[in-house]
């Protein structure tokens, strides 16, 4: 038996990996549910019910999907240009810090002016945070996987310092949290009385915008060309270094919007736990989406549903919520394997 490359895989074959990966992750989860003493069918039933079974559950899932769409887009745009941004977590916090600093009354502007200003400055912060590793990559050939990954830890410690020091809420009873945002700095709810905020709509707009950039603009063409074959892109006269830097700014900015949206839309103040690893989960989302911006929306909804549903399932069936983490991890691993398999076919000698 050996593998033979397939020159021109069909569309169905190219769309197969996410399906296989998700099916595989359900299989792994079933085994684990059995070991934990649950009935797999009941477990999945409870997950689905917990994720979309009620209006409350559905809105919770959409809320949870919002930051994942942003980080998923951030990773997708970078990976497509072969810029391995593992630092969406830090970029998310960069946006969150800017929001927490500017939203607490420093600027007393009406919401229509204040919100866009904060959003843009948040993006700028996230963009600049990725610009450093990108410059190190283009100038000195430093591996951005290492620099962006390690920056996550450095930046989180910096946020921790801010929350214990200059940004600490004097009224916070000693908790490491920032003061509450003023009302003008809060993203309003889409429908009064429901928890879903405009950050979700912003995420959808971002996904469509990125899709248009990818397919319709010269920058999208250049980003794809540099990602596919930087040597040919350079020979053809494309400004390869410039394209990588622009990609970095776009990616960092998108990840920072996740932080802005969480602080301004959902939490109202900055704490060290606003992101349970959304930056890293964004990698899973982007891979499941095959780096397609609209696919990112679908993948983020799926991942959010698993997380939200697993919480409810755990409360009902006493099977640990870690099942959700395992499902995502196994989905990512199987995704990588499935992508490989769609490029080859198995031939029996």
């Amino acid at each position: 038996m050996r593998l033979e490359p397939i020159a021109d895989p069909s569309l169905a074959r190219r769309l197969l990996p996410p399906v296989l990966a998700i099916a595989g992750s359900f299989l792994v989860a079933s085994l684990l549910a059995l070991i934990a003493g649950g009935n797999p069918l009941a477990v999945f039933g409870a997950i689905i019910k917990g994720a979309v079974g009620s209006k409350f559950a559905l809105l919770e899932t959409l809320n949870r999907a919002t930051p994942l769409i942003f980080t998923g887009l951030a990773v997708a745009v970078a990976f497509r240009a072969k810029l391995w941004n593992i630092g969406a977590e830090a970029q998310l916090y960069a946006g969150a810090v800017v929001t927490a600093v500017l939203g607490t009354g420093v600027l007393q502007w009406p919401a229509a002016l204040l919100l866009p200003t904060i959003a843009i400055l948040s993006m700028l912060a996230g963009a600049l945070l990725l610009l450093g590793p990108a410059l190190l990559k283009t100038r000195l050939g430093v591996d951005e996987v290492v620099t962006t990954l390690l920056l996550n830890f450095i930046f989180l410690l910096f946020v921790s310092y801010l929350l214990e020091g200059p940004l600490k809420d004097p009224m916070g009873m000693g908790w490491p949290k920032s003061p509450r945002l003023i009302e003008e700095a809060r993203l309003p709810r889409i429908v009064e009385g429901l928890r879903l905020h405009w950050g979700f709509v912003l995420a959808l707009i971002a996904a469509v915008a990125l899709w248009i950039i990818n397919t319709r603009t010269t920058l999208g063409f250049e980003m794809r060309a540099v990602g596919q074959n930087a040597e040919a892109a350079r020979f053809a006269g494309m400004p390869v270094t410039g394209v990588i830097l622009k990609t970095a700014l776009l990616s960092g900015g998108l990840a920072a919007l996740a932080g802005f949206s969480e602080v301004s839309g959902l939490k109202g103040s900055l704490t060290l736990d606003i992101s349970p690893g959304y930056g890293y989960t964004g990698i899973v989302v982007a891979m499941l989406a095959l780096l397609h911006p609209l696919g990112v929306v679908a993948a983020a909804l799926f991942v959010a549903a698993i997380f939200v549903g697993a919480n409810a399932m755990s409360r009902a069936l006493d099977v640990p919520t870690y099942l959700a983490d395992i499902m995502l991890a196994s989905a990512l691993l199987m995704m990588v394997l499935a992508i490989l398999l769609t490029k080859f076919r198995v031939v029996r000698d």
């Binding site: 020159a7 021109d8 074959n229 040597e231 040919a232 020979f235 006269g237």
Partner: protein, 516 residues
């Protein structure tokens, strides 16, 4: 020739068939090799010559058919069995360890596993004897990494002879040699068959086949289409058999050179790894002329090509285009100065494999011609691609086809079209026909000749001296980054150019050449 008819059959291939996916690489191929005979295996690139020999040597397993050596059927897919049966193969790409000496390379793999000690003295004596007997001059103590390509090939042949090979298979052995080195190789082969060895010589060069072989076997699209005693055939007949149809090479009519469009004066560039840079190169490209650059591979062709395409900058010297000095040089500037570039590696430099034809067609011009305020004009780009497909006869399902699915010839036609559509003043054609079938070769050559007539200055870089001599108005030879003076068409014979290719005739090498 007498007695050959009765000579013993040493190798018999029977009904060899091999498929790669939908491609049939070998289709029911059978022939025999006699003792003391040289068979030329002739065919175009992609005709299935190398596949056939890899099956014989056990590197591939045939789908059908068998290989018999000295009357014994070889087990399929077992190179060791082929070696033991007395088959020695010299590949196109050598398989030597550069950090070991010549004699170490030769004995490598011949010692029994677990042998504690190497009888170096006996091994070296045997190598010395073989080297003398077959005129394969090479110092057994020097490191292979320091040897020239020609010397390395001798080591490969010695390696086969050391293992008592009775059948030698040489895959395109002259591709990397100067004409003089080729002659030396032929002398060795004659010596070898004189002593009872047999040789299979793979080539697509007709004059070599005529010079060295007793019999010629012609492959076309995987099929054996003819077998001829070489003394009873002609170059013309073989050419026709090889390509199945009329061969019309373009005619280059003499015409007076136009003004100088590009001038290099004393230009030097940095080398890259093992590849040398340029050393004080003087070169002028005139309108309406094809300037040929001959040379053995790896002697600075890449440095010159990188400089003209905009990938590299001169370190010193003067570089002028249309009389103006060049500053701040880049691929984009090169395109803006109307330089069309056909890169050496069409798969990795010239195109993006997973992009479709439309995207590849506008790779160099999208920013100027197919975009407005940062928005792509895909409709225009697609129309451009359709135009190129029609005008340059690119055979493909359509402009949405990913370019990796095209054959090399069609890929090259698209690149050629992309270049010529911009009406370039200067055309850099680096190995424009390597790996193409003869139809595509003539097409590309014809288009280059046409561009010349329209007044473009063409620089043709090739390792194929025939191609250079056929097309060029002026020929320069490059060796270790130095450039010979220009020789006008018809003033030099191939062997004279060969001496320059071997590095003779140049002024004393510069300090820089020694330092590197």
């Amino acid at each position: 020739m007498t007695g050959k008819a009765q000579a013993q059959t040493v190798l018999r291939l029977s009904h060899i068939t091999k498929h790669f996916g939908a491609l049939t690489a070998n289709d029911d191929v059978s022939f025999e090799l006699k003792r003391g005979e040289v068979i030329a295996l002739l065919g175009e690139n992609g005709a299935g010559k190398t596949t056939l020999m890899n099956i014989l040597f056990g590197q591939y397993t045939a789908d059908a058919g068998e290989v018999e050596v000295f009357g014994q059927t070889l087990p399929p897919g077992n190179p060791r069995a082929a070696l033991d049966a007395g088959v020695g193969m010299v590949h196109q790409h050598f398989t030597l360890a550069g950090n070991l000496t010549v004699w170490e390379n030769i004995v490598l793999g011949t010692q029994a596993l677990g042998a504690l000690r190497l009888d170096a003295k006996a091994a070296k004596a045997k190598i010395a004897a073989l080297s003398k007997r077959f005129h394969l001059a090479v110092d057994p103590e020097s490191k292979v990494g320091r040897l020239s390509v020609g010397e390395r090939q001798r080591v490969e042949i010695l390696k086969a002879l050391y293992r008592e090979a009775r059948i030698l298979i040489l895959d395109e052995p002259t591709a990397v040699l100067t004409p003089q080195e080729s002659d030396a190789l032929f002398a060795t082969l004659r010596e070898a068959v004189g002593q009872g060895l047999s040789v299979v010589f793979i080539s697509h060069k007709l004059h070599e086949v005529m010079a060295i072989s007793d019999r010629t076997v012609v492959l076309r699209h995987g099929k054996l289409v003819a077998e001829r005693a070489t003394s009873e055939t002609s170059r013309e007949e073989l050419a026709a058999l090889m390509v199945d149809g009329e061969v019309s090479a373009p005619k280059i009519e003499a015409m007076p050179p136009g003004p100088a469009l590009m001038r290099l004066a004393g230009v030097s560039t940095k080398g890259e790894g093992r590849a040398p840079g340029l050393h004080a190169v003087d070169l002028t490209l005139h309108a309406g002329q094809i300037t040929g650059l001959a040379g053995v591979s790896g002697n600075g062709q890449k440095a010159l090509s990188d400089l003209i395409s905009g990938l590299a900058n001169p370190v010193s010297g003067r570089f002028e285009i249309a009389g103006e000095p060049v500053t701040d040089w880049s691929p984009r500037r090169a395109l803006a100065r109307k330089i069309g570039r056909i890169p050496e590696d069409r798969h990795h430099t010239g195109t993006i494999a997973d992009f479709d034809l439309t995207e590849n067609a506008v790779l160099e011009t999208y920013a100027r011609d197919f975009a407005r305020h940062g928005w792509m004009d895909w409709k225009g780009a697609r129309a451009q691609a359709e135009g190129l497909i029609g005008t340059y006869d690119v055979r493909c399902p359509g402009p949405d086809t990913r370019i990796r699915l095209l054959s090399g010839g069609n890929m090259q036609k698209l690149i050629l079209g992309r270049v010529l559509e911009t009406a370039p003043r200067i055309i850099l054609a680096n190995q424009p026909v390597r790996g193409l079938d003869i139809g595509a070769v003539n097409y590309v050559h014809g288009r280059l000749a046409e561009a010349r007539e329209k007044g473009a200055a063409v620089l043709l870089i090739s390792e194929d001296l025939d191609e250079i001599m056929k097309l060029s108005d002026v020929i320069h030879v490059i060796s270790e980054g130095r450039l010979s003076p220009g020789f006008a068409r018809g003033t030099m014979r191939a062997d004279e150019l060969g001496q320059w290719m071997a590095g003779e005739g140049f002024a004393q090498p510069t300090e820089a050449a020694h330092a590197s």
